[in-house]
Symmetry: C4
Subunit: 277 residues, 4 copies
């Protein structure tokens, strides 16, 4: 009896392709979404005044629910410590901590939106589908772009600092350009083409500099885009040519989205486990 419960729980928590696992995953997603919605509604002054206590009860309900889930998940894992210090383990802990904190420190409820990070668990529901291939593709393209993009960002940063200082010297403090850090805030707002308009140049010289910064921003957006596009093209090419080796029969030539080895029928799950457990 107890053994059966244990098996069911293991299915619910770790076997995402079984009906029990799928049902549990969907239930969990709904709980997470509802709990985030409650936190958001509670932050609205008009609703807070009226439904304060209802929201409070819901928050504790979800916290206790997620605490039980966290403890079960940790105790059922093969290596509990590995789970606790894994990315998803830390996220699960962060999702329940703020409510306990409110016992000592009021005002930390909004931190409960950290539960939004738990939405990333949604990929577990689709783990056996093509989503995993796409996540791997995006991750590989972004990591190989990282170095080039960071070079690009350093250059952009130097441009931003220098242009901000020029504006600090050119424009008057009364118009919002009160200090270099504030001018940097304005520079970033302008170069990224956001353009709030809370601080705008008033002098002809300032307008010219602002326009130059805008054109730099308009042109350099092409650089990260170009980097990521070419890296994605490379990732697709290598995906199409370098097929992986089956761990069981050591044979090659599998399609990039194969779930089972076409030679020996072994399941390709090892990697996914590492990625999403």
């Amino acid at each position: 009896m107890k053994d059966k419960l244990r098996r069911k729980l293991h299915q619910a928590f770790f076997e995402h392709s079984t009906p029990t696992g799928k049902a549990f995953d969907i239930f969990l997603m709904i709980m997470i979404l509802t709990s985030i919605t409650i936190v958001m509604l509670d932050s609205m002054p008009s609703l807070h005044v009226k439904h304060k206590h209802t929201f409070h009860s819901f928050e504790w309900f979800f916290t206790i629910l997620f605490t039980i889930e966290y403890l079960l998940r940790a105790s059922l894992a093969k290596r509990p410590m590995r789970f606790v210090f894994s990315f998803l383990g830390i996220v699960d802990l962060l999702a329940i901590m703020p409510t306990y904190f409110t016992l000592f420190l009021p005002g930390t409820q909004p931190l409960l939106v950290l539960r939004a990070l738990r939405l990333l668990r949604i990929f577990r529901i689709f783990r056996l589908s093509h989503f995993l291939v796409d996540i791997k593709f995006l991750t590989s393209a972004l990591t190989s772009s990282f170095r080039k993009i960071s070079i690009f960002f350093l250059f952009a940063l130097v441009v931003v600092i220098i242009m901000a200082t020029v504006m600090y010297l050119v424009e008057k403090p009364e118009d919002g350009f009160t200090s270099i850090p504030k001018c940097i805030y304005w520079s970033v707002t302008t170069i990224t083409t956001v353009g709030y308009g809370d601080i705008v140049p008033k002098t002809p010289m300032g307008m010219v500099i602002a326009n130059i910064l805008m054109m730099i921003g308009f042109a350099i957006i092409a650089v990260p885009t170009g980097i990521i596009t070419t890296e994605m093209a490379i990732a697709i090419k290598s995906r199409d040519t370098n097929h992986e080796i089956c761990r069981s029969c050591k044979k090659k030539g599998h399609d990039h989205d194969a779930i089972f080895c076409k030679h020996c029928g072994a399941k390709f799950e090892a990697e996914e486990e590492e990625l999403l457990e």
Copy 2:
């Protein structure tokens, strides 16, 4: 005589390459554009006061015209029910409903702009041209990008929710950051580089967070662009290599923009019918 009218009507409604069909398509486009213009002009207070009754008459004129067209189209279709529940059939119905609704519910006239959806019929005029090839190309590139872009959007959503909550804690409600949902509105406005400037950070900490969000937005715009560009490159490659098979003579090797089979002269219309009927 009656038979001749019926044949003419069939040409007008379904045979877009005949002179009658072309003339009718162009007439229809002009009617749709005029009716949308009338709805827009009617929404302008100054014109509404003056020409209220003229606009009203026009709206009923177009509604009755489109109703007749709808009924004729449905009765002339091979399978009327299939037309009624097709995309364009529903659009055609939506384009006439609001006027009838105004008999019971005043204030629904603006919904008549749903007629704008009928503008998509414009592609029927060009159906035998290269436009169809391009629509198929764009559609295939976008559908194969869909999964990757939705992963990207989920990550972006989690970033937006967390940054919005941080801003809710950092900034004061007096400056517009009154609740988490409103902060999410601000976050989306900032990350998409729209930057209305109706809500702007006032504290140094808030400015730093805003700048980080801007830079995230500026950098991640490269991700959907990269995805769609690579998918388009793949779609072009496969279009150039995998030629379709002629349904009549079963031979391959046709150019992707061929309208007639170069072996037996059969017309390649089957697919288009499905796409645009």
Copy 3:
């Protein structure tokens, strides 16, 4: 003597690779830039009051200079009528007309900035350089993208019209959403991520719709970018494989930036003439 002057003039106007031609082209550019600058300075109220008459004299000076140039260019051209109705011929005429108009219609001086179009002549200075190859490359990529981008724009337009009407129904006229055309102005401002902030949503529902429109804008910018990038990639590939045929010796295999045929030494100028004369 007269014959020598005529030859010199022909060199100045049409032989851009001779020293006389180069000097004349540079002189012309400086004249055009100066005349545009004068028009701009004249539009500034503070300067207009002080230097009204000086600016006026300069405008007439440049107009007479460009008129002489226009008449000489037309009379020296092989086929004067062809020049008059060519793109650059019309631009040259537009650049002198507004000053003569001011004799009858005051207030048309600002139209003199149409002289800015004459700046496109700058490419003539570089005609023998690599610029021409690049212009041809950009033009071919953009024209072959045109159909796809117009499909994309039609879809975007339908989205803009419908979203604008929804906002017209959702938001109050007091907040700036006074009519459907004005809401379309707001929609375009939002979907293109410009975001002036002169009209902003005030209701929760309006904010949600605004955010959806922003995200659509943020995502669909990828579509024209993807189209143009892939067309450019195609243009480069075809440039590298389909070399042109020399008109003199009919041999192939020239590099895309070759100015002289490597087989017979003939100059490849015919095309350029057509493009820039």
Copy 4:
């Protein structure tokens, strides 16, 4: 003894792969970052009033430190004059000059942020890593895009000038469209999708023109992106095929990120020296 010091100094300044060189590079980065931070904090009115003298002392401390570094670097270089007139040599000089200027001209301290340019030295720390390959890649892609992008910018400039003038004629000066140069500032703000909202169209005609400009901006951003992406794709292809020749053994076939010749073991440093010295 003196000889040992000299060797240590040479290691610190020029041998970035030795422990001494690495330690010195990191120390230098920290000094540069701290000195920039001081300049920024000093520009904030509230902090300036309180810590004026502390900041002043720090500025002089860093200036003297960087002066000593500059003199040592120049005297230790093989060809001192070449260093003084190199890009990094001029940057190093610019980084110390403003403090000395303040002795005669007050108010030039903010120019000390020119020290930000010294941050580009950070690449020296990574010189033996893959960063150099990436900088070379980005530089080559950008330089080969330069001509095409400048053509694009000239066309955009002509569009901006003409649209600005049309707005100057259409909108009233009271709404901010006071002169053509100011309208150009507005045009650039709009076409780059920054959209401050400090100057916005009020007339229906002005709104239509603004919307057209926005759509142009939204569409043409694709052009520089397409150019840079295709140039990057070309740069990657040529990087993969045209391997460089070793200067020692004249053999080919090295990977593009190789640091040592795989045939004779010679170090590939010549190029880096030129790029970063």
